[in-house]
Amino acid sequence: MVEIVPIKYRVPIARPKVGVAGKTGSWRWVKPVVDTSRCTRCFLCEIYCPDNTITVDPEKGAIVDYEYCKGCGICANVCPVNAIEMVKEA
């Protein structure tokens, strides 16, 4: 059994939370737009998103959090039914 006795020193651990590195801001030049009628809820985009900004809702399909999405396009690449299109930002 291990006893956790708090440490008085700094340790290089962190609790992950949404937006800890700040919002994406205005530099994203393309964004993923989901055609939910074609989305099969396969979850691949959610799994592959490197910034964890996609949630697949069984009812609504893939939902992108544009506050943190960097527009890398990995989701559009992995989508097996081409339901995600990268659209230029206005």
Binding site: I4, V11, P12, A14, P16
Partner: protein
């Protein structure tokens, strides 16, 4: 307490077992292998309730040990020579993450040329990693230091990993009677594992994220503070172990016939035993010499060394490793740390010897120390650096 005849390696294994290690991850390398073989044997016989992770390299051995320790297990590994070098990246990870781990290093020369005998180049090459580094002189101390290592490493004032050095073959494969405490007494003394944080999947935690330079520097300033506190913790652990089991070594250093010594010799590891013989012979011949044996090189016992050496008429540091292009690593520490206390340095000589396992006996030590003292008494200072070699 029963005495058992054990090799150095079997002593390490028994100490790890009696410390109730829960995870052992290891890769075989001469001359360490029989430590983890014995631990595997204990597990196989049901005498030790632990998981043995057989990995594909030493890099993975320490990574797995580290992972198990982060998750809350009392974890242990052992290696030698090139295995330790291969681990080097994880050696840093473990200390910088402030994770208690104990690792035995059966010291062995580095190649090429290929060599399996002892010198201290491998372990002293890890000097700057933030690990506490202890070194035993005989198998009794191997036992005591291994169990003490867990206590030191898991102290909340320290939370740093500990390496225990023992010389290849001279200790690792040589038997001597070892006083083994009762399991119940040892459990009472050692207590349960403690650590500062646990990452076991019950809540999301990230280890080793990107940090800004100022934050990063503060982590490492804390590591230095932990090392400073470890000096006291090592002294305390030596004392409390002495109260329980009757053996005290003197903390960070072992003083042998230093009480009235005018001259000092300094060494670390198994050959300190030969040096003790030489000191006894020299004492019989009227030479007032004492031995300072380095039990711990990290943290460095700066105060003890200053107190002993400030009044010395002359000292010799015997190094079983060399910082090529400079001097022996222990010598560099001894001399540099004197500057923390004084501008007046006694004559301190550095003799590098025993590299690649060259046997240095009590008669070599007797001759070297006697000649040095004779010269100093005549007002002649022998050259500060000597690489002593013979066939």
């Amino acid at each position: 307490m029963p005495k058992t005849v054990l090799t150095g390696n079997y002593t390490v294994a028994l100490a790890a077992k009696m410390a109730r290690v829960e995870v052992v991850a290891a890769y075989p390398i001469t001359p360490q292998t029989s430590i983890v073989e014995k631990l595997a044997d204990y597990i196989d016989r049901g005498e030790l309730d632990a998981i043995m992770i057989r990995v594909e390299s030493e890099h993975s051995a320490l990574a797995a040990t580290f992972g198990a320790a982060v998750a809350g297990a009392r974890a242990f590994t052992a290696t030698s020579s090139h295995g330790l070098l291969y681990m080097h990246e994880w050696v840093h990870w473990t200390s910088r993450a402030r994770i208690p781990v104990v690792m035995a290093i059966v010291t062995r020369a580095l190649a090429p040329p290929w060599n399996i005998w002892s010198d201290h180049q491998d372990i002293l090459g890890q000097r700057d990693t933030g690990w506490i580094i202890g070194f035993a002189m005989d198998n009794q101390e191997v036992f005591d230091m291994t169990v003490q290592a867990f206590k030191i490493s898991e102290d909340p004032r320290v939370y740093l990993p500990v390496m225990i050095g023992l010389d290849a073959f001279t200790l690792s494969h040589t038997s001597m009677p070892v006083d083994v405490p009762e399991q119940e007494e040892l459990d009472k003394w050692l207590g349960p594992r403690r650590q500062g944080y646990v990452i076991d999947g019950s809540e999301p935690l990230a280890l080793g994220n990107l940090a800004w330079p100022e934050d990063t520097e503060e982590f490492f300033m804390d590591l230095q503070r932990g090392m400073e506190e470890a000096k006291n913790v090592i002294r305390e652990v030596d004392e409390s172990y002495g109260r329980f089991f009757g053996r005290r070594y003197g903390g960070l250093i072992h003083r042998y016939r230093c009480g009235d010594a005018k001259y000092h010799v300094i060494a670390m590891g198994a050959w300190s035993g030969d040096l003790m013989e030489a000191v006894d012979m020299l004492r019989e011949d009227g030479y007032p010499v004492g031995l300072i044996r380095m039990r711990f090189i990290r943290p460095y016992p700066d105060r003890e060394m200053y107190e002993l050496l400030s009044g010395s008429k002359g000292a010799i540091v015997f190094d079983r490793a060399i910082s090529y292009g400079s001097l022996g690593p222990i010598y560099l520490d001894v001399v540099a740390n004197m500057a923390r206390y004084t501008r007046r340095l006694p004559y301190i000589r550095n003799i590098v010897a025993g590299i690649g396992g060259v046997n240095v006996t009590y008669s070599d030590f007797y001759k070297l120390v006697k000649e040095t003292i004779d010269d100093l008494e005549k007002g002649v200072e022998p050259s500060v650096f000597t690489w002593y070699h013979r066939r």
